[in-house]
């Protein structure tokens, strides 16, 4: 039952309007330019750039990645060109493109987050900030900002106090109850939530008996983690009042639809870009096809329409 009526893919995420709900995830699409020959950024809902910090960071020693079943571990170590080079060398290429540019940012202290937000505020060509709170807090002995509601609140408050840009807070899955963190950063004023970041994982070379990553522990991404991500997005949309961006393991249009159906207003595609650089465009087309097949005209008609059976729902076996 396909028709040729035009369908609407545009979604509103609070202050942010996207022409379609398919964004690319930070750290998996460089600064947009790397894949531009294959994926014109302007076709995307938004581009989220690699996480930047005040000063350039050289990152972790190699090896930095390892493939696992249905996933990959990475410990890039937040390597990035730093704020200044980003503004001088990377942003100018993105600025003229008619695609929202979201800057993913992180710091070692609340103060660094605040400074970064201030420095990015009002820069032409930046349409939003995404706060990575999965980074170790140097003052808290390496515990991540995102695993403690109080620290997460402080980071987001600091960023919000210094910017007028829409603020997305990106949550880590490595917590007991992600809804507590979600509520804390909502109280701190985040405009949007995105989740999940990578799941902490590890692998060992049994011949050398050494870790596969020089950093020992890394972040697991890719289709292996999709069920975890989807569950967390579903938990968060039930308690949150702000729009949610779902990500984690999306490799197909069905995956993207699952996140939208549970209630995400948009999705980000990460690791799948490496496997199939054309995947974001395929998902965008696939969303249109799905709507037509279902006799619908607007992607918003499916967002949050999961039909849940009555009765109690437990977690755990």
């Amino acid at each position: 039952m396909t028709s040729d009526k035009p369908v609407n893919l545009a979604v509103d995420l609070g202050p942010l309007r996207l022409k379609n709900p398919v964004m690319v995830a930070s750290g998996t699409f460089g600064y947009g330019q790397e894949y531009a020959e294959l994926v014109p950024p302007e076709r995307l809902g938004a581009v989220v750039v690699k996480g930047i910090s005040l000063e350039p960071r050289s990152g972790n020693p190699p090896p930095r990645i390892w493939e696992t079943c249905g996933g990959m571990l990475n410990s890039i170590g937040l390597q990035n060109v730093g704020l200044r080079s980003f503004l001088e060398e990377k942003l100018p290429w993105l600025r003229p493109l008619s695609v929202p540019v979201i800057v993913n940012l992180f710091g070692n202290t609340v103060e660094e987050y605040r400074e970064l937000a201030a420095a990015l505020d009002g820069q032409e060509g930046i349409d939003g900030l995404e706060i990575n709170i999965s980074c170790p807090n140097v003052k808290a002995g390496g515990m991540t900002f995102g695993s403690d509601p109080e620290m997460a609140f402080q980071v987001v408050s600091a960023v919000k106090s210094r910017t007028n840009l829409p603020v997305i807070t990106k949550l880590t899955p490595n917590v007991t109850d992600i809804t507590i963190i979600a509520k804390a950063v909502e109280d701190a004023g985040t405009d949007i939530l995105s989740l999940i970041n990578t799941v902490a994982g590890m692998a060992v070379d049994v011949q050398t008996r050494r870790p596969r990553l020089a950093n020992v522990v890394g972040g697991l991404s890719g289709p292996a983690i999709k069920p975890i991500a989807l569950r967390m997005v579903w938990q968060v949309v039930q308690v949150s009042k702000v729009p949610v961006i779902g990500l984690g393991g999306i490799v197909s249009v069905e995956d993207a639809l699952e996140f939208l159906i549970v209630g995400a207003q948009a999705v980000q595609v990460g690791t799948a870009n490496f496997v199939n650089p054309g995947i974001t465009l395929e998902i965008i087309d696939g969303l249109e096809d799905y709507l037509r097949q279902q006799g619908l005209e607007d992607i918003n008609e499916i967002i949050g329409t999961l039909e849940v059976p009555r009765g109690p729902v437990g977690i755990g076996e």
Binding site: G27, T28, F29, G30, E34, Y35, E37, L38, K50, S58, G59, P61, P62, P63, R64, I65, W66, E67, T68, C69, G70, G71, M72, N74, I76, Q79, G222, P223, V251, T271, N273, F274, V275, N276, P277, G278
Partner: protein, 270 residues
């Protein structure tokens, strides 16, 4: 950079662990520079998840449309899947990628050094030099564990190369490591090479770079790293390199984008 399905023209076992695969994809073929590589999706589905990097071994310009070859060693899951593929099947490729070899500044002695599967990118380079009018002399030093590793020697000879073989077990050519024999040979040459091209295991590459540095000649080394994207987007494939300015700390370059070919003096060896 293109994303294309190539037709598999052949997939022949050429030694116990090595395979030649012929691929038809004129669009990609037309763009390949010597030393560039491809990111190959070895299977549909998501296990294995990541693409595998492979050099382009040879280009066949003669048969229109242009085809090309990979030479690969079966080492793990992905290459085992490649080895099982049949002619007429198709393979999804991303490429050509990276910064390849530079031709020498001027004619003169050209030295290539290969260790094991490190031979893979050199035939394309050799053909390009010859067909661009370089007249050499050309010398290939090629080392392997055993005689079966020393493939496509005839091809280099046909191009006019002097080929010197070394095996660790002495089953062909001189016995030992290629770098030891090479060093000795170099010390006996009157003419210094214009450039040393090299591809092979990390310790070999390091010794080649050091020899070149001592002799004051340029080296161009094709390096390996674990890769996520192959295009510079993920920062997985780092190689510790000298900073742009003296006095700064070493920084990481991306093998996939800043390489895979690096000048020996760029690299900070560990």
């Amino acid at each position: 950079m293109l994303l294309r399905n190539a037709e598999i023209l052949f997939n022949d076992r050429v030694s116990p662990e090595l395979y030649h695969m012929g691929l038809l994809c004129p669009e990609i073929a037309a763009r390949i520079q010597p030393g560039q590589f491809l990111m190959v999706r070895v299977q549909e589905g998501f296990d294995p998840l990541l693409r595998r990097p492979f050099a382009v071994h040879r280009i066949h310009h003669n048969d229109p449309p242009t085809s090309f070859e990979m030479l690969y060693r079966v080492v793990g899951r992905g290459t085992r899947l490649l080895a099982d593929m049949q002619a007429a099947g198709s393979l999804n490729l991303l490429g050509p990628l990276g910064r390849g070899f530079q031709v020498p500044d001027k004619d003169g002695l050209v030295l290539m050094v290969a260790g094991g599967i490190g031979i893979a990118p050199l035939p394309h380079l050799a053909e390009t030099l010859v067909s661009s009018g370089f007249r050499g002399p050309f010398v290939l030093w090629f080392g392997g564990k055993t005689a079966a590793d020393l493939v496509c020697v005839k091809h280099f000879k046909d191009l006019g190369f002097a080929v010197r073989l070394v095996t660790e077990d002495g089953s062909e050519g001189r016995q030992g490591l290629v770098t030891g024999h090479l060093e000795q040979w170099l010390s006996q040459q009157d003419e210094l090479p214009e450039v040393m091209y090299s591809c092979g295991p990390y310790p070999m590459q390091r010794l080649v770079a050091e020899m070149a540095a001592r002799l004051g000649i340029p080296s161009q080394l094709s390096m390996e790293a674990l890769m996520g994207c192959g295009v510079g987007a993920c920062l997985s494939c780092s190689l510790r390199c000298r900073p742009p300015k003296d006095g700064q700390d070493p920084h990481y370059l991306n093998v996939c984008q800043d390489g895979p070919v690096f000048a020996g003096e760029e690299i900070v060896w560990e």
